[in-house]
C-alpha cells in the first residue's frame, strides 16, 4: 500500500488532534462540563432565594418522599429559624433565615442540601463507588456497597453527607436529588412542593441561562453572582440572592477546581513509582550483593 500525501496528512491530523485533545483534558475539566461523558446533559436546580418565603414546604415534601421520621417541631412552625440549622440524617434539606439589609421586613431564606457537584468529591473519595454521579446529574448512594469509612464526609467541601452514628447498621444519609423521579424526567419532590417557584428544576445549562437573564433584567434586585456555577468545578444546585452570598453562610473557600483533580497528581505518580522503585531497588540489591565476585573479596 502506498501512502499518498493526502492520506498521510489525514492520519497525521487525526493523531495530532487526538494528542491535543488528550493533553487538553484537564483544562476541559476545569471549565466544568455541563454534561456526562455519554453526552447526556446534567439536570440541576435553580434556587432563587429572593422568591423564597420560608414556608418549609420543601422540607416537608422531602421528609415524606424519603420516608424520614416526622420531626418534633411541626413543619408549619417558624421557631426552627431561631438558630442556624444543618442537614441531619433525618432532614436532607433545611431552610435557614437571614436578615435582609435591603428590606428588613422580608428576611432571606436559604436552602441547604447536597449540592450534587458535576465532579463530586464524595464519589471520587469513595473506594467502593457507593456514591456515584449519574448521567442525569444526581449523586446517588448505593447503600449495599458502603463500608462506612466516612471518607466522603472528610472530602465533601460542603459537608453534605451525614452519618447514622447511633445505629448498629448505619448508612450515609443525604439528598439524592430524588433520583428515581429525575431518572423518569419528573422533578424532585421539593421543587414540586414549592408554591413560589423559588426552587426550579431543569437542565443545568438552561438554568444558568435563566439565572443570568434574571440578573441582567433586574440588576437592582440580584447580587450578580450565581453560586454553584463554578464552585468545586460547578454544582447542580445553583443559587441566586439579593445580597452577596458570603453573608448567607455560603462557603466561599471551596474554589473552582473540581475535587478529583486534587489527588490526580498523586494517583498518576503511583504507576511510575511501581515501575521505578523495584527497578532501582533490585539494581541496588544486585550491586551491593555481588561485590564479592568482582573484587575478589568474597570467601569463595
Amino acid at each position: 500500500m502506498t501512502i499518498s500525501r493526502r492520506n498521510f496528512l489525514k492520519v497525521a491530523g487525526a493523531a495530532g488532534g487526538a494528542l491535543l485533545a488528550g493533553g487538553r483534558k484537564p483544562a476541559q475539566a476545569a471549565t466544568a462540563p455541563e454534561a456526562d461523558p455519554k453526552g447526556m446533559e446534567f439536570y440541576g436546580m435553580l434556587i432563587d432565594t429572593t422568591k423564597c418565603i420560608g414556608c418549609r414546604s420543601c422540607e416537608e415534601a422531602c421528609n415524606e418522599k424519603n420516608g424520614l421520621p416526622r420531626p418534633e417541631v411541626s413543619f408549619s412552625s417558624e421557631s426552627v429559624f431561631e438558630k442556624k440549622r444543618d442537614t441531619t440524617p433525618e432532614a436532607f434539606t433545611v431552610l435557614n433565615k437571614y436578615p435582609n439589609p435591603k428590606d428588613p421586613d422580608k428576611p432571606i431564606f436559604v436552602r441547604k442540601q447536597c449540592m450534587h457537584c458535576n465532579q463530586p468529591a464524595c464519589a471520587t473519595a469513595c473506594l467502593v463507588k457507593a456514591l456515584e454521579k449519574t448521567p442525569e446529574g444526581p449523586v446517588k448512594y448505593n447503600k449495599d456497597r458502603c463500608m462506612g469509612c466516612r471518607y466522603c464526609m472528610v472530602s465533601c467541601p460542603f459537608d453534605a453527607p451525614k452519618y447514622e452514628y447511633n445505629s448498629a447498621l448505619p448508612y450515609l444519609k443525604k439528598c439524592v436529588f430524588c433520583f428515581d423521579r429525575v431518572k423518569n424526567g419528573e422533578q424532585p419532590a421539593c421543587v414540586d412542593a414549592c408554591p413560589e417557584g423559588a426552587s426550579f428544576f431543569g437542565k443545568r445549562r438552561e438554568l444558568i441561562e435563566i439565572a443570568r437573564q434574571r440578573i441582567y433584567q433586574n440588576p437592582d434586585k440580584y447580587h450578580p453572582y450565581i453560586y454553584g456555577e463554578h464552585e468545586a468545578g460547578g454544582t447542580s444546585m445553583l443559587f441566586l440572592s439579593s445580597v452577596p452570598v458570603e453573608k448567607l453562610d455560603f462557603r466561599m473557600n471551596v474554589g473552582s477546581t473540581p475535587y478529583p483533580e486534587k489527588t490526580t497528581g498523586f494517583l498518576y505518580a503511583v504507576p511510575h513509582i511501581f515501575i521505578l522503585w523495584p527497578t532501582l531497588l533490585y539494581g541496588l540489591n544486585y550491586l551491593t550483593h555481588n561485590n564479592d565476585k568482582e573484587t575478589g573479596h568474597g570467601e569463595k
Binding site: 473506594l127 467502593v128 458502603c146 462506612g148 466516612r150 448498629a168 489527588t263 522503585w277
Partner: protein, 432 residues
C-alpha cells in the same frame, strides 16, 4: 559451608513434631500456654485494659459508633483513625526502612534487630490498621474494594486499602522464616528465604506509596485543614517523616526489648547494640533534616507569615520546634558524644513530635474553625490503649517462642560473608 548446612538440617525426627498435621496441632496447643509468671503488674494492668476495651467494642457494635465515641457530623474521623491508623502506620515505617538498609544496601550490622522490627511492623498493621475495622460503620463490607464489587480507583483510600493488605502479606513473607524455624520446617524455610528479597523490594515500593497515600487522603479536605498544615506536598512530607518516625520507634522499642528480653539475647549482640542505636540515630537525623527543609520550603511557598501570630500559629511552632528542631539538636549532640542514653531520649521526643504532627493534620487542625471541636471520649482512648496492649501481648507471645531476638540454634546464618563482617556475624554463629 556446605558441611555446615548438612548439620543444620539433620534428617532426624523433627524436635517439635510439627511435621505432621496432628503433631502441628499438638505443638501449637502446647505453645499457646503462657510462659513465665502470670500475675505480674504489667499483666494485671494490661489485662484489665484489654478486658474493658473488649466490653467497649461490644457496646460499639451493638449500639453504633455514637454510643462510645465523640464522632460527629462535623468530625467524621477521630483518634481511631488519626492516632491508631495514621500515626500507627507511620511508626511501622521502621520495618521498610531497616529492610532497605539490611536487604538492599547489605548493611549486616542491623540484622540483629531486623526480625523484631519487621515483626513489630507486621503486628502494627494487623492491630492498628486492624483497629480501622472498629471505626467502619459496616466493617463486613471492607472486602468490597478487594473482591472487585466496585473498584473506586479514583480514590486514594482505595490505593491505601490495597496497599495495607499487600504490605501486610509482604511483611508476613519477610517474617515467615522465623515461623518455619519455630515449627522446625527446614525445607519450607529454604523456599521462604528465597522469597525474602522479592517481598522486601515489593514491600518498600508499597510502603513508599501508602505512607505518602495516607497524607494524600487529606488533600481532598483542602478547605478544612488549617493552611499551616495543608499543603500540596503532604504526601512527600508523610513519606519522609515515616522514615524518622519508624527509626525513632525502632530505637525506643529495641531499647525496651533489650531490657525485657535480656535473657534471650546473645551477649555479643549486647556489645554491638549501642553501635546499632547510634547508626539508626544518624539515619533518623538525616531524615529529620530533610523533613525540616521540606517544611521550611512549604512554609515559605505558602507565605503564611501572618498566620504564625495566631493561636494555631503558636501550636504550629510547638510542633516544628519541639518535634523537629529539638530532636535535630539532641540527636546531633548524642551522635557527637556517642551518648546512647541521649539517643533514646531524642527518639522518644521525635516520636512525640510525629504523634503531634499526625494528630494535627487529621484531627486538631482539621476544621480548626469549628465551634464544636472534637475531643476523644474516654472510651475512644481506652479502646486505643487496649489495642496497644493487645499488640504488646502478641509481640511478647511471639518473641518468647520464635527466634526473633536471637538466631535459632539449629539454623545458624551461613551466608557468604565479607571478612570485615565476620565480627558482626559472630552473634549468630555463636548461638549455634
Amino acid at each position: 559451608m556446605e558441611k555446615n548446612n548438612a548439620v543444620a538440617f539433620p534428617h532426624a525426627k523433627s524436635p517439635t513434631g510439627a511435621d505432621t498435621v496432628k503433631g502441628f496441632i499438638r505443638f501449637l496447643l502446647g505453645e499457646l500456654k503462657p510462659k513465665g509468671k502470670i500475675l505480674t503488674p504489667f499483666n494485671v494492668i494490661s489485662g484489665w485494659i484489654i478486658l474493658g476495651g473488649l466490653i467497649l467494642i461490644v457496646i460499639r457494635f451493638a449500639y453504633g459508633l455514637g454510643s462510645i465515641t465523640n464522632l460527629s457530623q462535623e468530625y467524621p474521623w477521630g483518634i481511631w483513625i488519626g492516632f491508631d491508623v495514621v500515626t500507627g502506620v507511620a511508626f511501622a515505617g521502621g520495618a521498610y526502612t531497616l529492610c532497605f538498609v539490611v536487604h538492599i544496601l547489605n548493611f549486616k550490622k542491623y540484622e540483629p534487630i531486623l526480625r523484631a522490627t519487621v515483626l513489630n511492623g507486621f503486628l502494627a498493621y494487623c492491630f492498628y490498621a486492624g483497629a480501622l475495622l472498629l471505626d467502619l460503620g459496616r466493617p463486613w463490607n471492607v472486602i468490597n474494594p478487594i473482591i472487585g464489587n466496585a473498584f473506586g480507583y479514583s480514590s486514594v483510600l482505595f490505593l491505601v486499602a490495597w496497599h495495607f493488605l499487600l504490605y501486610t502479606i509482604c511483611q508476613f513473607v519477610e517474617i515467615f522464616p522465623a515461623v518455619t524455624e519455630w515449627l522446625y520446617w527446614p525445607k519450607i524455610r529454604k523456599y521462604a528465604k528465597l522469597c525474602t528479597t522479592g517481598a522486601v523490594i515489593f514491600g518498600i515500593t508499597l510502603s513508599t506509596l501508602h505512607q505518602s497515600g495516607l497524607g494524600a487522603l487529606f488533600m481532598m479536605a483542602s478547605n478544612k485543614i488549617h493552611p499551616l498544615w495543608y499543603s500540596g506536598n503532604i504526601p512527600i512530607l508523610f513519606f519522609v517523616s515515616s522514615v524518622f518516625a519508624g527509626l525513632s520507634m525502632v530505637i525506643a522499642e529495641s531499647s525496651l526489648s533489650h531490657r525485657i528480653f535480656r535473657d534471650q539475647i546473645d551477649p555479643r549482640h549486647h556489645a554491638s547494640f549501642d553501635d546499632i542505636l547510634l547508626g539508626m540515630a544518624k539515619g533518623a537525623l538525616g531524615a529529620l533534616f530533610a523533613y525540616f527543609f521540606l517544611k521550611v520550603i512549604d512554609f515559605v511557598h505558602g507565605s503564611h507569615w501572618a498566620l504564625i501570630d495566631t493561636p494555631m500559629g503558636y501550636w504550629y511552632l510547638v510542633e516544628i520546634v519541639g518535634g523537629i528542631v529539638l530532636p535535630i539538636i539532641l540527636f546531633t549532640i548524642a551522635i557527637l558524644k556517642n551518648n546512647v542514653r541521649l539517643v533514646q531520649i531524642s527518639a522518644f521526643i521525635t516520636a512525640l513530635g510525629v504523634i503531634l504532627n499526625r494528630l494535627n493534620v487529621s484531627v486538631i487542625a482539621f476544621k480548626w474553625y469549628s465551634a464544636n471541636r472534637y475531643y476523644p471520649s474516654w472510651a475512644e482512648v481506652w479502646v486505643t490503649a487496649a489495642v496497644i496492649c493487645m499488640e504488646i501481648w502478641a509481640f511478647r507471645w511471639i518473641v518468647s517462642r520464635m527466634p526473633i531476638m536471637n538466631a535459632h540454634p539449629a539454623f545458624p546464618e551461613v551466608e557468604k560473608t565479607h571478612p570485615k563482617e565476620t565480627e558482626v556475624l559472630q552473634w549468630k554463629v555463636s548461638a549455634s
